[in-house]
């Protein structure tokens, strides 16, 4: 294999000698392998519900706990990727599948994540009754449900918006479907998918605590990890241990960001479609290091060329086979009718079963209680998003208009968004108890603690992107004060703000389950609301009412998205166009 591109320093002979960078990478890789191996081995250990390993609160166990938690999250990420590549591809390629899969995805992502946990944990435990693998899989599945949906949406959107000229070029080259997927569609989707993977990883942390210390009805499972460490610390009212957990989690996030995501982002930079050279090229020391190693680079090139060969392979049925199959397929009209019939029948069956189930277990009274609670949570979300707006929009604009400051604040805001805010809950609860505050009001801010940052960094991005000639025009006409905000800045950042607010409110809904009912040792605080309702029903193992709560929450989330956010988003897009 030749490389026209790079003429490495030194002759052919010298290239065979590994350099110091090879050594660094080798040590890094070995350390990671050993850690992952030992973590993974414990995951398949025998499991007896009564004799679970004690979760200790001494800080020495934290590194190993952090590794086990990270393995769960990465396993969930891999599962999410597999799900994304199958589900989103199917939805984008088949009109009939799309009709069912996309609305389904919309519902799936509005279901609160803990809702999945209460339903699936028993299934997984019964699937592998004698090993700890069952609960492990349940935890991984819970994390998966917090990661997969936005990734699938991202890939689906990309597949549907492949630029027309690239699409025509691939067709005129007669790429097979396989070649087209790997040569055109996946590379095009890569930046969006990667960004969503990072968002997913951050989102996953939020639910690690809940997924590692599972309590559904009588079943109590504690899986060694940072999440169960925190749960234990809360039980023991140990603020010092909570602080240790926060440190460990911060360190973990930093490490996998440096080792995994930064290299990926720097590598994926070439998949951007904009044809202008970027002023800031993402860099990552791990990737640089890797690219400069000698032996490893050769190994990497071998892998690269193997994948290139795989992507170049046509992998399509020979034309004579296709010609044989083609007449066998039913006519499109007939197939459509069959398909609609099938979908309708399936829906009818599901509705009938659900109604039967609900009719036997639930009364109208239950529904009205759930909706009342839903209204309360909705009010909270609205007030909190409004509050966060009042606080963060002016700050975001102030930061965004100072490019050098924005450069420093932006990554910090993103890190804060990645930080699981529920780790701070014990501290908040401690304060509420200490000062005897009303939980109905003072628990509410916890919902938005983690997601307010989306408003901040989107506003910063908007203010940074605000055309400087508009600002100069405003300055030269001496537009100031409130008029400046109303006529110049707010319309300019509006689309960015809407993007941030959508994420923030969605996140707040999801967080309500964790934040409306919290405990500190034996003390339980409840703010009432739909989140608290679902959390209480989960604790009681009351499945029909968990389902009811989840259904109500999905309905409310979907309704707000359809009735408020989507029209606002469309309006923002229309308003800011010049033509």
């Amino acid at each position: 294999m030749e490389h026209h591109a790079e003429v490495l320093g030194g002759g052919v002979w010298r290239q065979r000698i590994p350099n110091w960078r090879d050594l660094v990478i080798a040590i890094l890789a070995l350390a990671l392998l050993i850690l992952i191996g030992s973590g993974a081995r414990q995951m398949v250990a025998p499991f007896v519900a009564a004799q679970q390993p004690e979760i200790t609160l001494s800080p020495e166990v934290l590194p190993l706990y952090a590794v086990r938690t990270t393995i769960r999250m990465l396993a969930a990420l891999v599962a999410s990727l597999i799900f994304t590549f199958t589900y989103a591809t199917l939805a984008a390629k088949s009109r009939r599948a799309e009709m069912v899969l996309i609305p389904l995805l919309d519902v799936l992502q509005s279901v609160p994540i803990l809702g999945y946990l209460s339903f699936t944990v028993l299934f997984f435990v019964s699937l592998f009754p004698d090993t700890v693998l069952g609960p492990e899989l349940a935890a991984i599945f819970a994390i998966f449900t917090s990661q997969a949906w936005n990734m699938a949406f991202s890939l689906y959107q990309s597949l549907r918006t492949v630029p027309q000229d690239l699409d025509e070029a691939s067709r005129s080259f007669r790429f097979s479907a396989w070649q087209r997927f790997w040569r055109l569609e996946v590379p095009f989707a890569m930046p969006g998918l990667l960004w969503n993977m990072m968002m997913s990883m951050s989102g996953g942390w939020f639910f690690v605590v809940a997924s590692e210390a599972i309590a559904v009805g009588d079943l109590q499972i504690n899986l060694p990890g940072i999440g169960s460490y925190v749960a234990r610390a809360i039980e023991e009212r140990d603020l010092g241990a909570v602080a240790w957990a926060i440190v460990a989690m911060g360190a973990t996030i930093f490490v996998y960001d440096q080792l995994l995501f930064r290299p990926l982002v720097a590598w994926a930079d070439k998949f951007r479609v904009e044809q202008t050279a970027a002023s800031i090229v993402p860099r990552a020391w791990v990737l640089d290091l890797f690219r400069r190693t000698r032996w490893l680079k050769r190994a990497g090139d071998a892998v690269g060329s193997a994948t290139a060969i795989a992507a170049r392979a046509r992998l399509s049925l020979p034309s004579n086979v296709r010609a044989l199959i083609a007449p066998l397929a039913p006519r499109p009209r007939v197939a459509d009718l069959l398909w609609y019939g099938l979908v309708l029948a399936a829906m009818g069956y599901v509705v009938k079963t659900l109604l039967g189930f609900a009719g036997a277990e639930l009364s109208w009274n239950d529904a009205s209680i759930a909706f009342e609670n839903g209204g309360l949570t909705m009010l909270r979300v609205a007030v909190l998003v409004a509050l966060a707006t009042v606080v963060w929009v002016p700050i975001g604009v102030a930061v965004g208009l100072r490019p050098r400051l924005a450069e420093k604040v932006q990554p910090a805001a993103q890190l804060l968004a990645a930080f699981p805010a529920n780790l701070l809950f014990p501290i908040a609860v401690f304060l509420i108890l200490r000062f005897d505050l009303a939980p109905k009001i003072w628990l509410s801010p916890l919902m938005i603690l983690g997601t307010q940052w989306y408003i901040l960094f989107n506003v910063i991005a908007g203010a940074t992107a605000f055309p400087s000639d508009f600002r100069e025009a405003a300055a030269s006409f001496r537009i100031g004060g409130w008029r400046w905000w109303r006529e110049v800045m707010l319309p300019g950042i509006f689309p960015y703000y809407v993007t941030g607010a959508i994420t923030a409110s969605g996140g707040a809904w999801n967080a309500s389950i964790v934040s409306e009912a919290v405990s500190w040792g034996p003390t339980k605080l409840s703010a009432s609301g739909l989140g608290a309702y679902i959390a209480e029903m989960t604790e009681a193992g009351d499945f029909p009412r968990i389902a009811l709560g989840i259904a109500v929450m999905s309905m409310l989330v979907i309704a707000t998205n359809r009735l408020l956010w989507r029209p606002l988003y469309a309006f923002a897009e229309r308003r800011t166009r010049l033509d």
Binding site: M1, E2, H4, A5, E6, P163, D165, L166, E168, A169, R171, S172, F173, R174, F175, S176, Q179, R183, L184, P187, M190, K270, F271, R272, V273, E274, Q275, T276, A277, I309, R312, R314
Partner: protein
Amino acid sequence: MTEQPGAAIIDLRRVCKAFARPSGEPLTVLADINVSLRDGEILGLLGRSGSGKSTLLRIAGGLVTPTSGEVLYRGTPLAGPAEGIAVVFQTFALFPWLTVLENVEAGLDAIGLSRPEARRRAQSAIDLIGLDGFQSAYPRELSGGMRQRVGFARAIVIEPLVLLMDEPFSALDVLTAETLRTDFLDLWTEHQLPTKSVLLVTHNIEEAVLMCDRILVLSSNPGRIAAEIPVPLAHPRNRLDGAFRGIVDEIYSILTSRAIASIKAQGEVHGGLAQALPPASVNQISGLIETLAAAPHAGHAELGEIAGSLTFEVDDLFPIAEALHILEFAELGEGRLKLTASGRVFARSGTQDRKRLFNEHLLKFVPLAAHIRRVLDEREGHHAPRVRFESELEDHLIRRDAERTLRTIIGWGRYAELFEYDDKARLFRAIGPGNA
């Protein structure tokens, strides 16, 4: 070229293309087209935007299926993109994540060559097209001209019989475009390309005359072949040559006579409401009047000449010329534009007088303007919703033309102070005595 034209490689027979519209009746973009692309020629497809020329190229390449009619490639019906046909795109259509070399190799993926063989052929295409030294660059690092060279290399690497070029030079600046044209013509005339024939879509008249052996002029709405013009000049051609200019002027004449005929035909039916107004702004109209009035034109000029001096292409110049013709500030005919008496007055006047004159002409020569004015005068409250006129126009025009006509009349009417338009409320208002 002097050689006898060979056999047809691609044959389009009675091809029609219509797109479905949400409103119901389909929009016909191409009607009854017969084209043969022959062995050994560069065939030009020339037309204004909306004439369906790019769609025609895509039909010839198997990227778009015609609604009716058939496409024969080497005598057999074409079903989808075929081996031996390569496309060069206006937007280059390079894969941003592949290097120059990988982009060129990508063209060979479907053929299933061995890797060294693919590398060898890509390398020789890169050498031929003048991209040596850029192999490892990513498209975003390249200038527009270099990007389009990659586009060419990627097309010829598959050694195509037919090269379909969709306005390949229109996204480039004037100088770069000229360099690429000459380089391509050199390769073509020296028979260095494996390609037997080329189909070039363009809206640049000089480019068509410079490169093609035969030019088909397409008319718009729906696209039909209006004329076929052979270009019996030897390469390299000289733009200043009399015969060259003669052909350019002939094409301008054909396009102007089509334009005049369609203005006349539309003006005569449905009380003038079927007249599509060209997308020309008041500033462009004033600018062209001033240019015509000034030296060296002194009131009349060849369209080709104006286009050359303003580096305008057909799509830039024709709408403005048509607007002048419709408003009777100038007369269009035989590829020439001649100012009328009031056009000369307009050129000499100050802002307020110009507005008054424009107002008069608008009411007199644009039936739609008079119609809007009448409706506003008659209606109580002196305002009328935009939809009202929109639906009236859509009775006679296709949606896109109706939309464009309304936008034009709003611009003209606002300038002439004939009416006000409120875009938020989507409402036309009369300028009352109170707020004039």
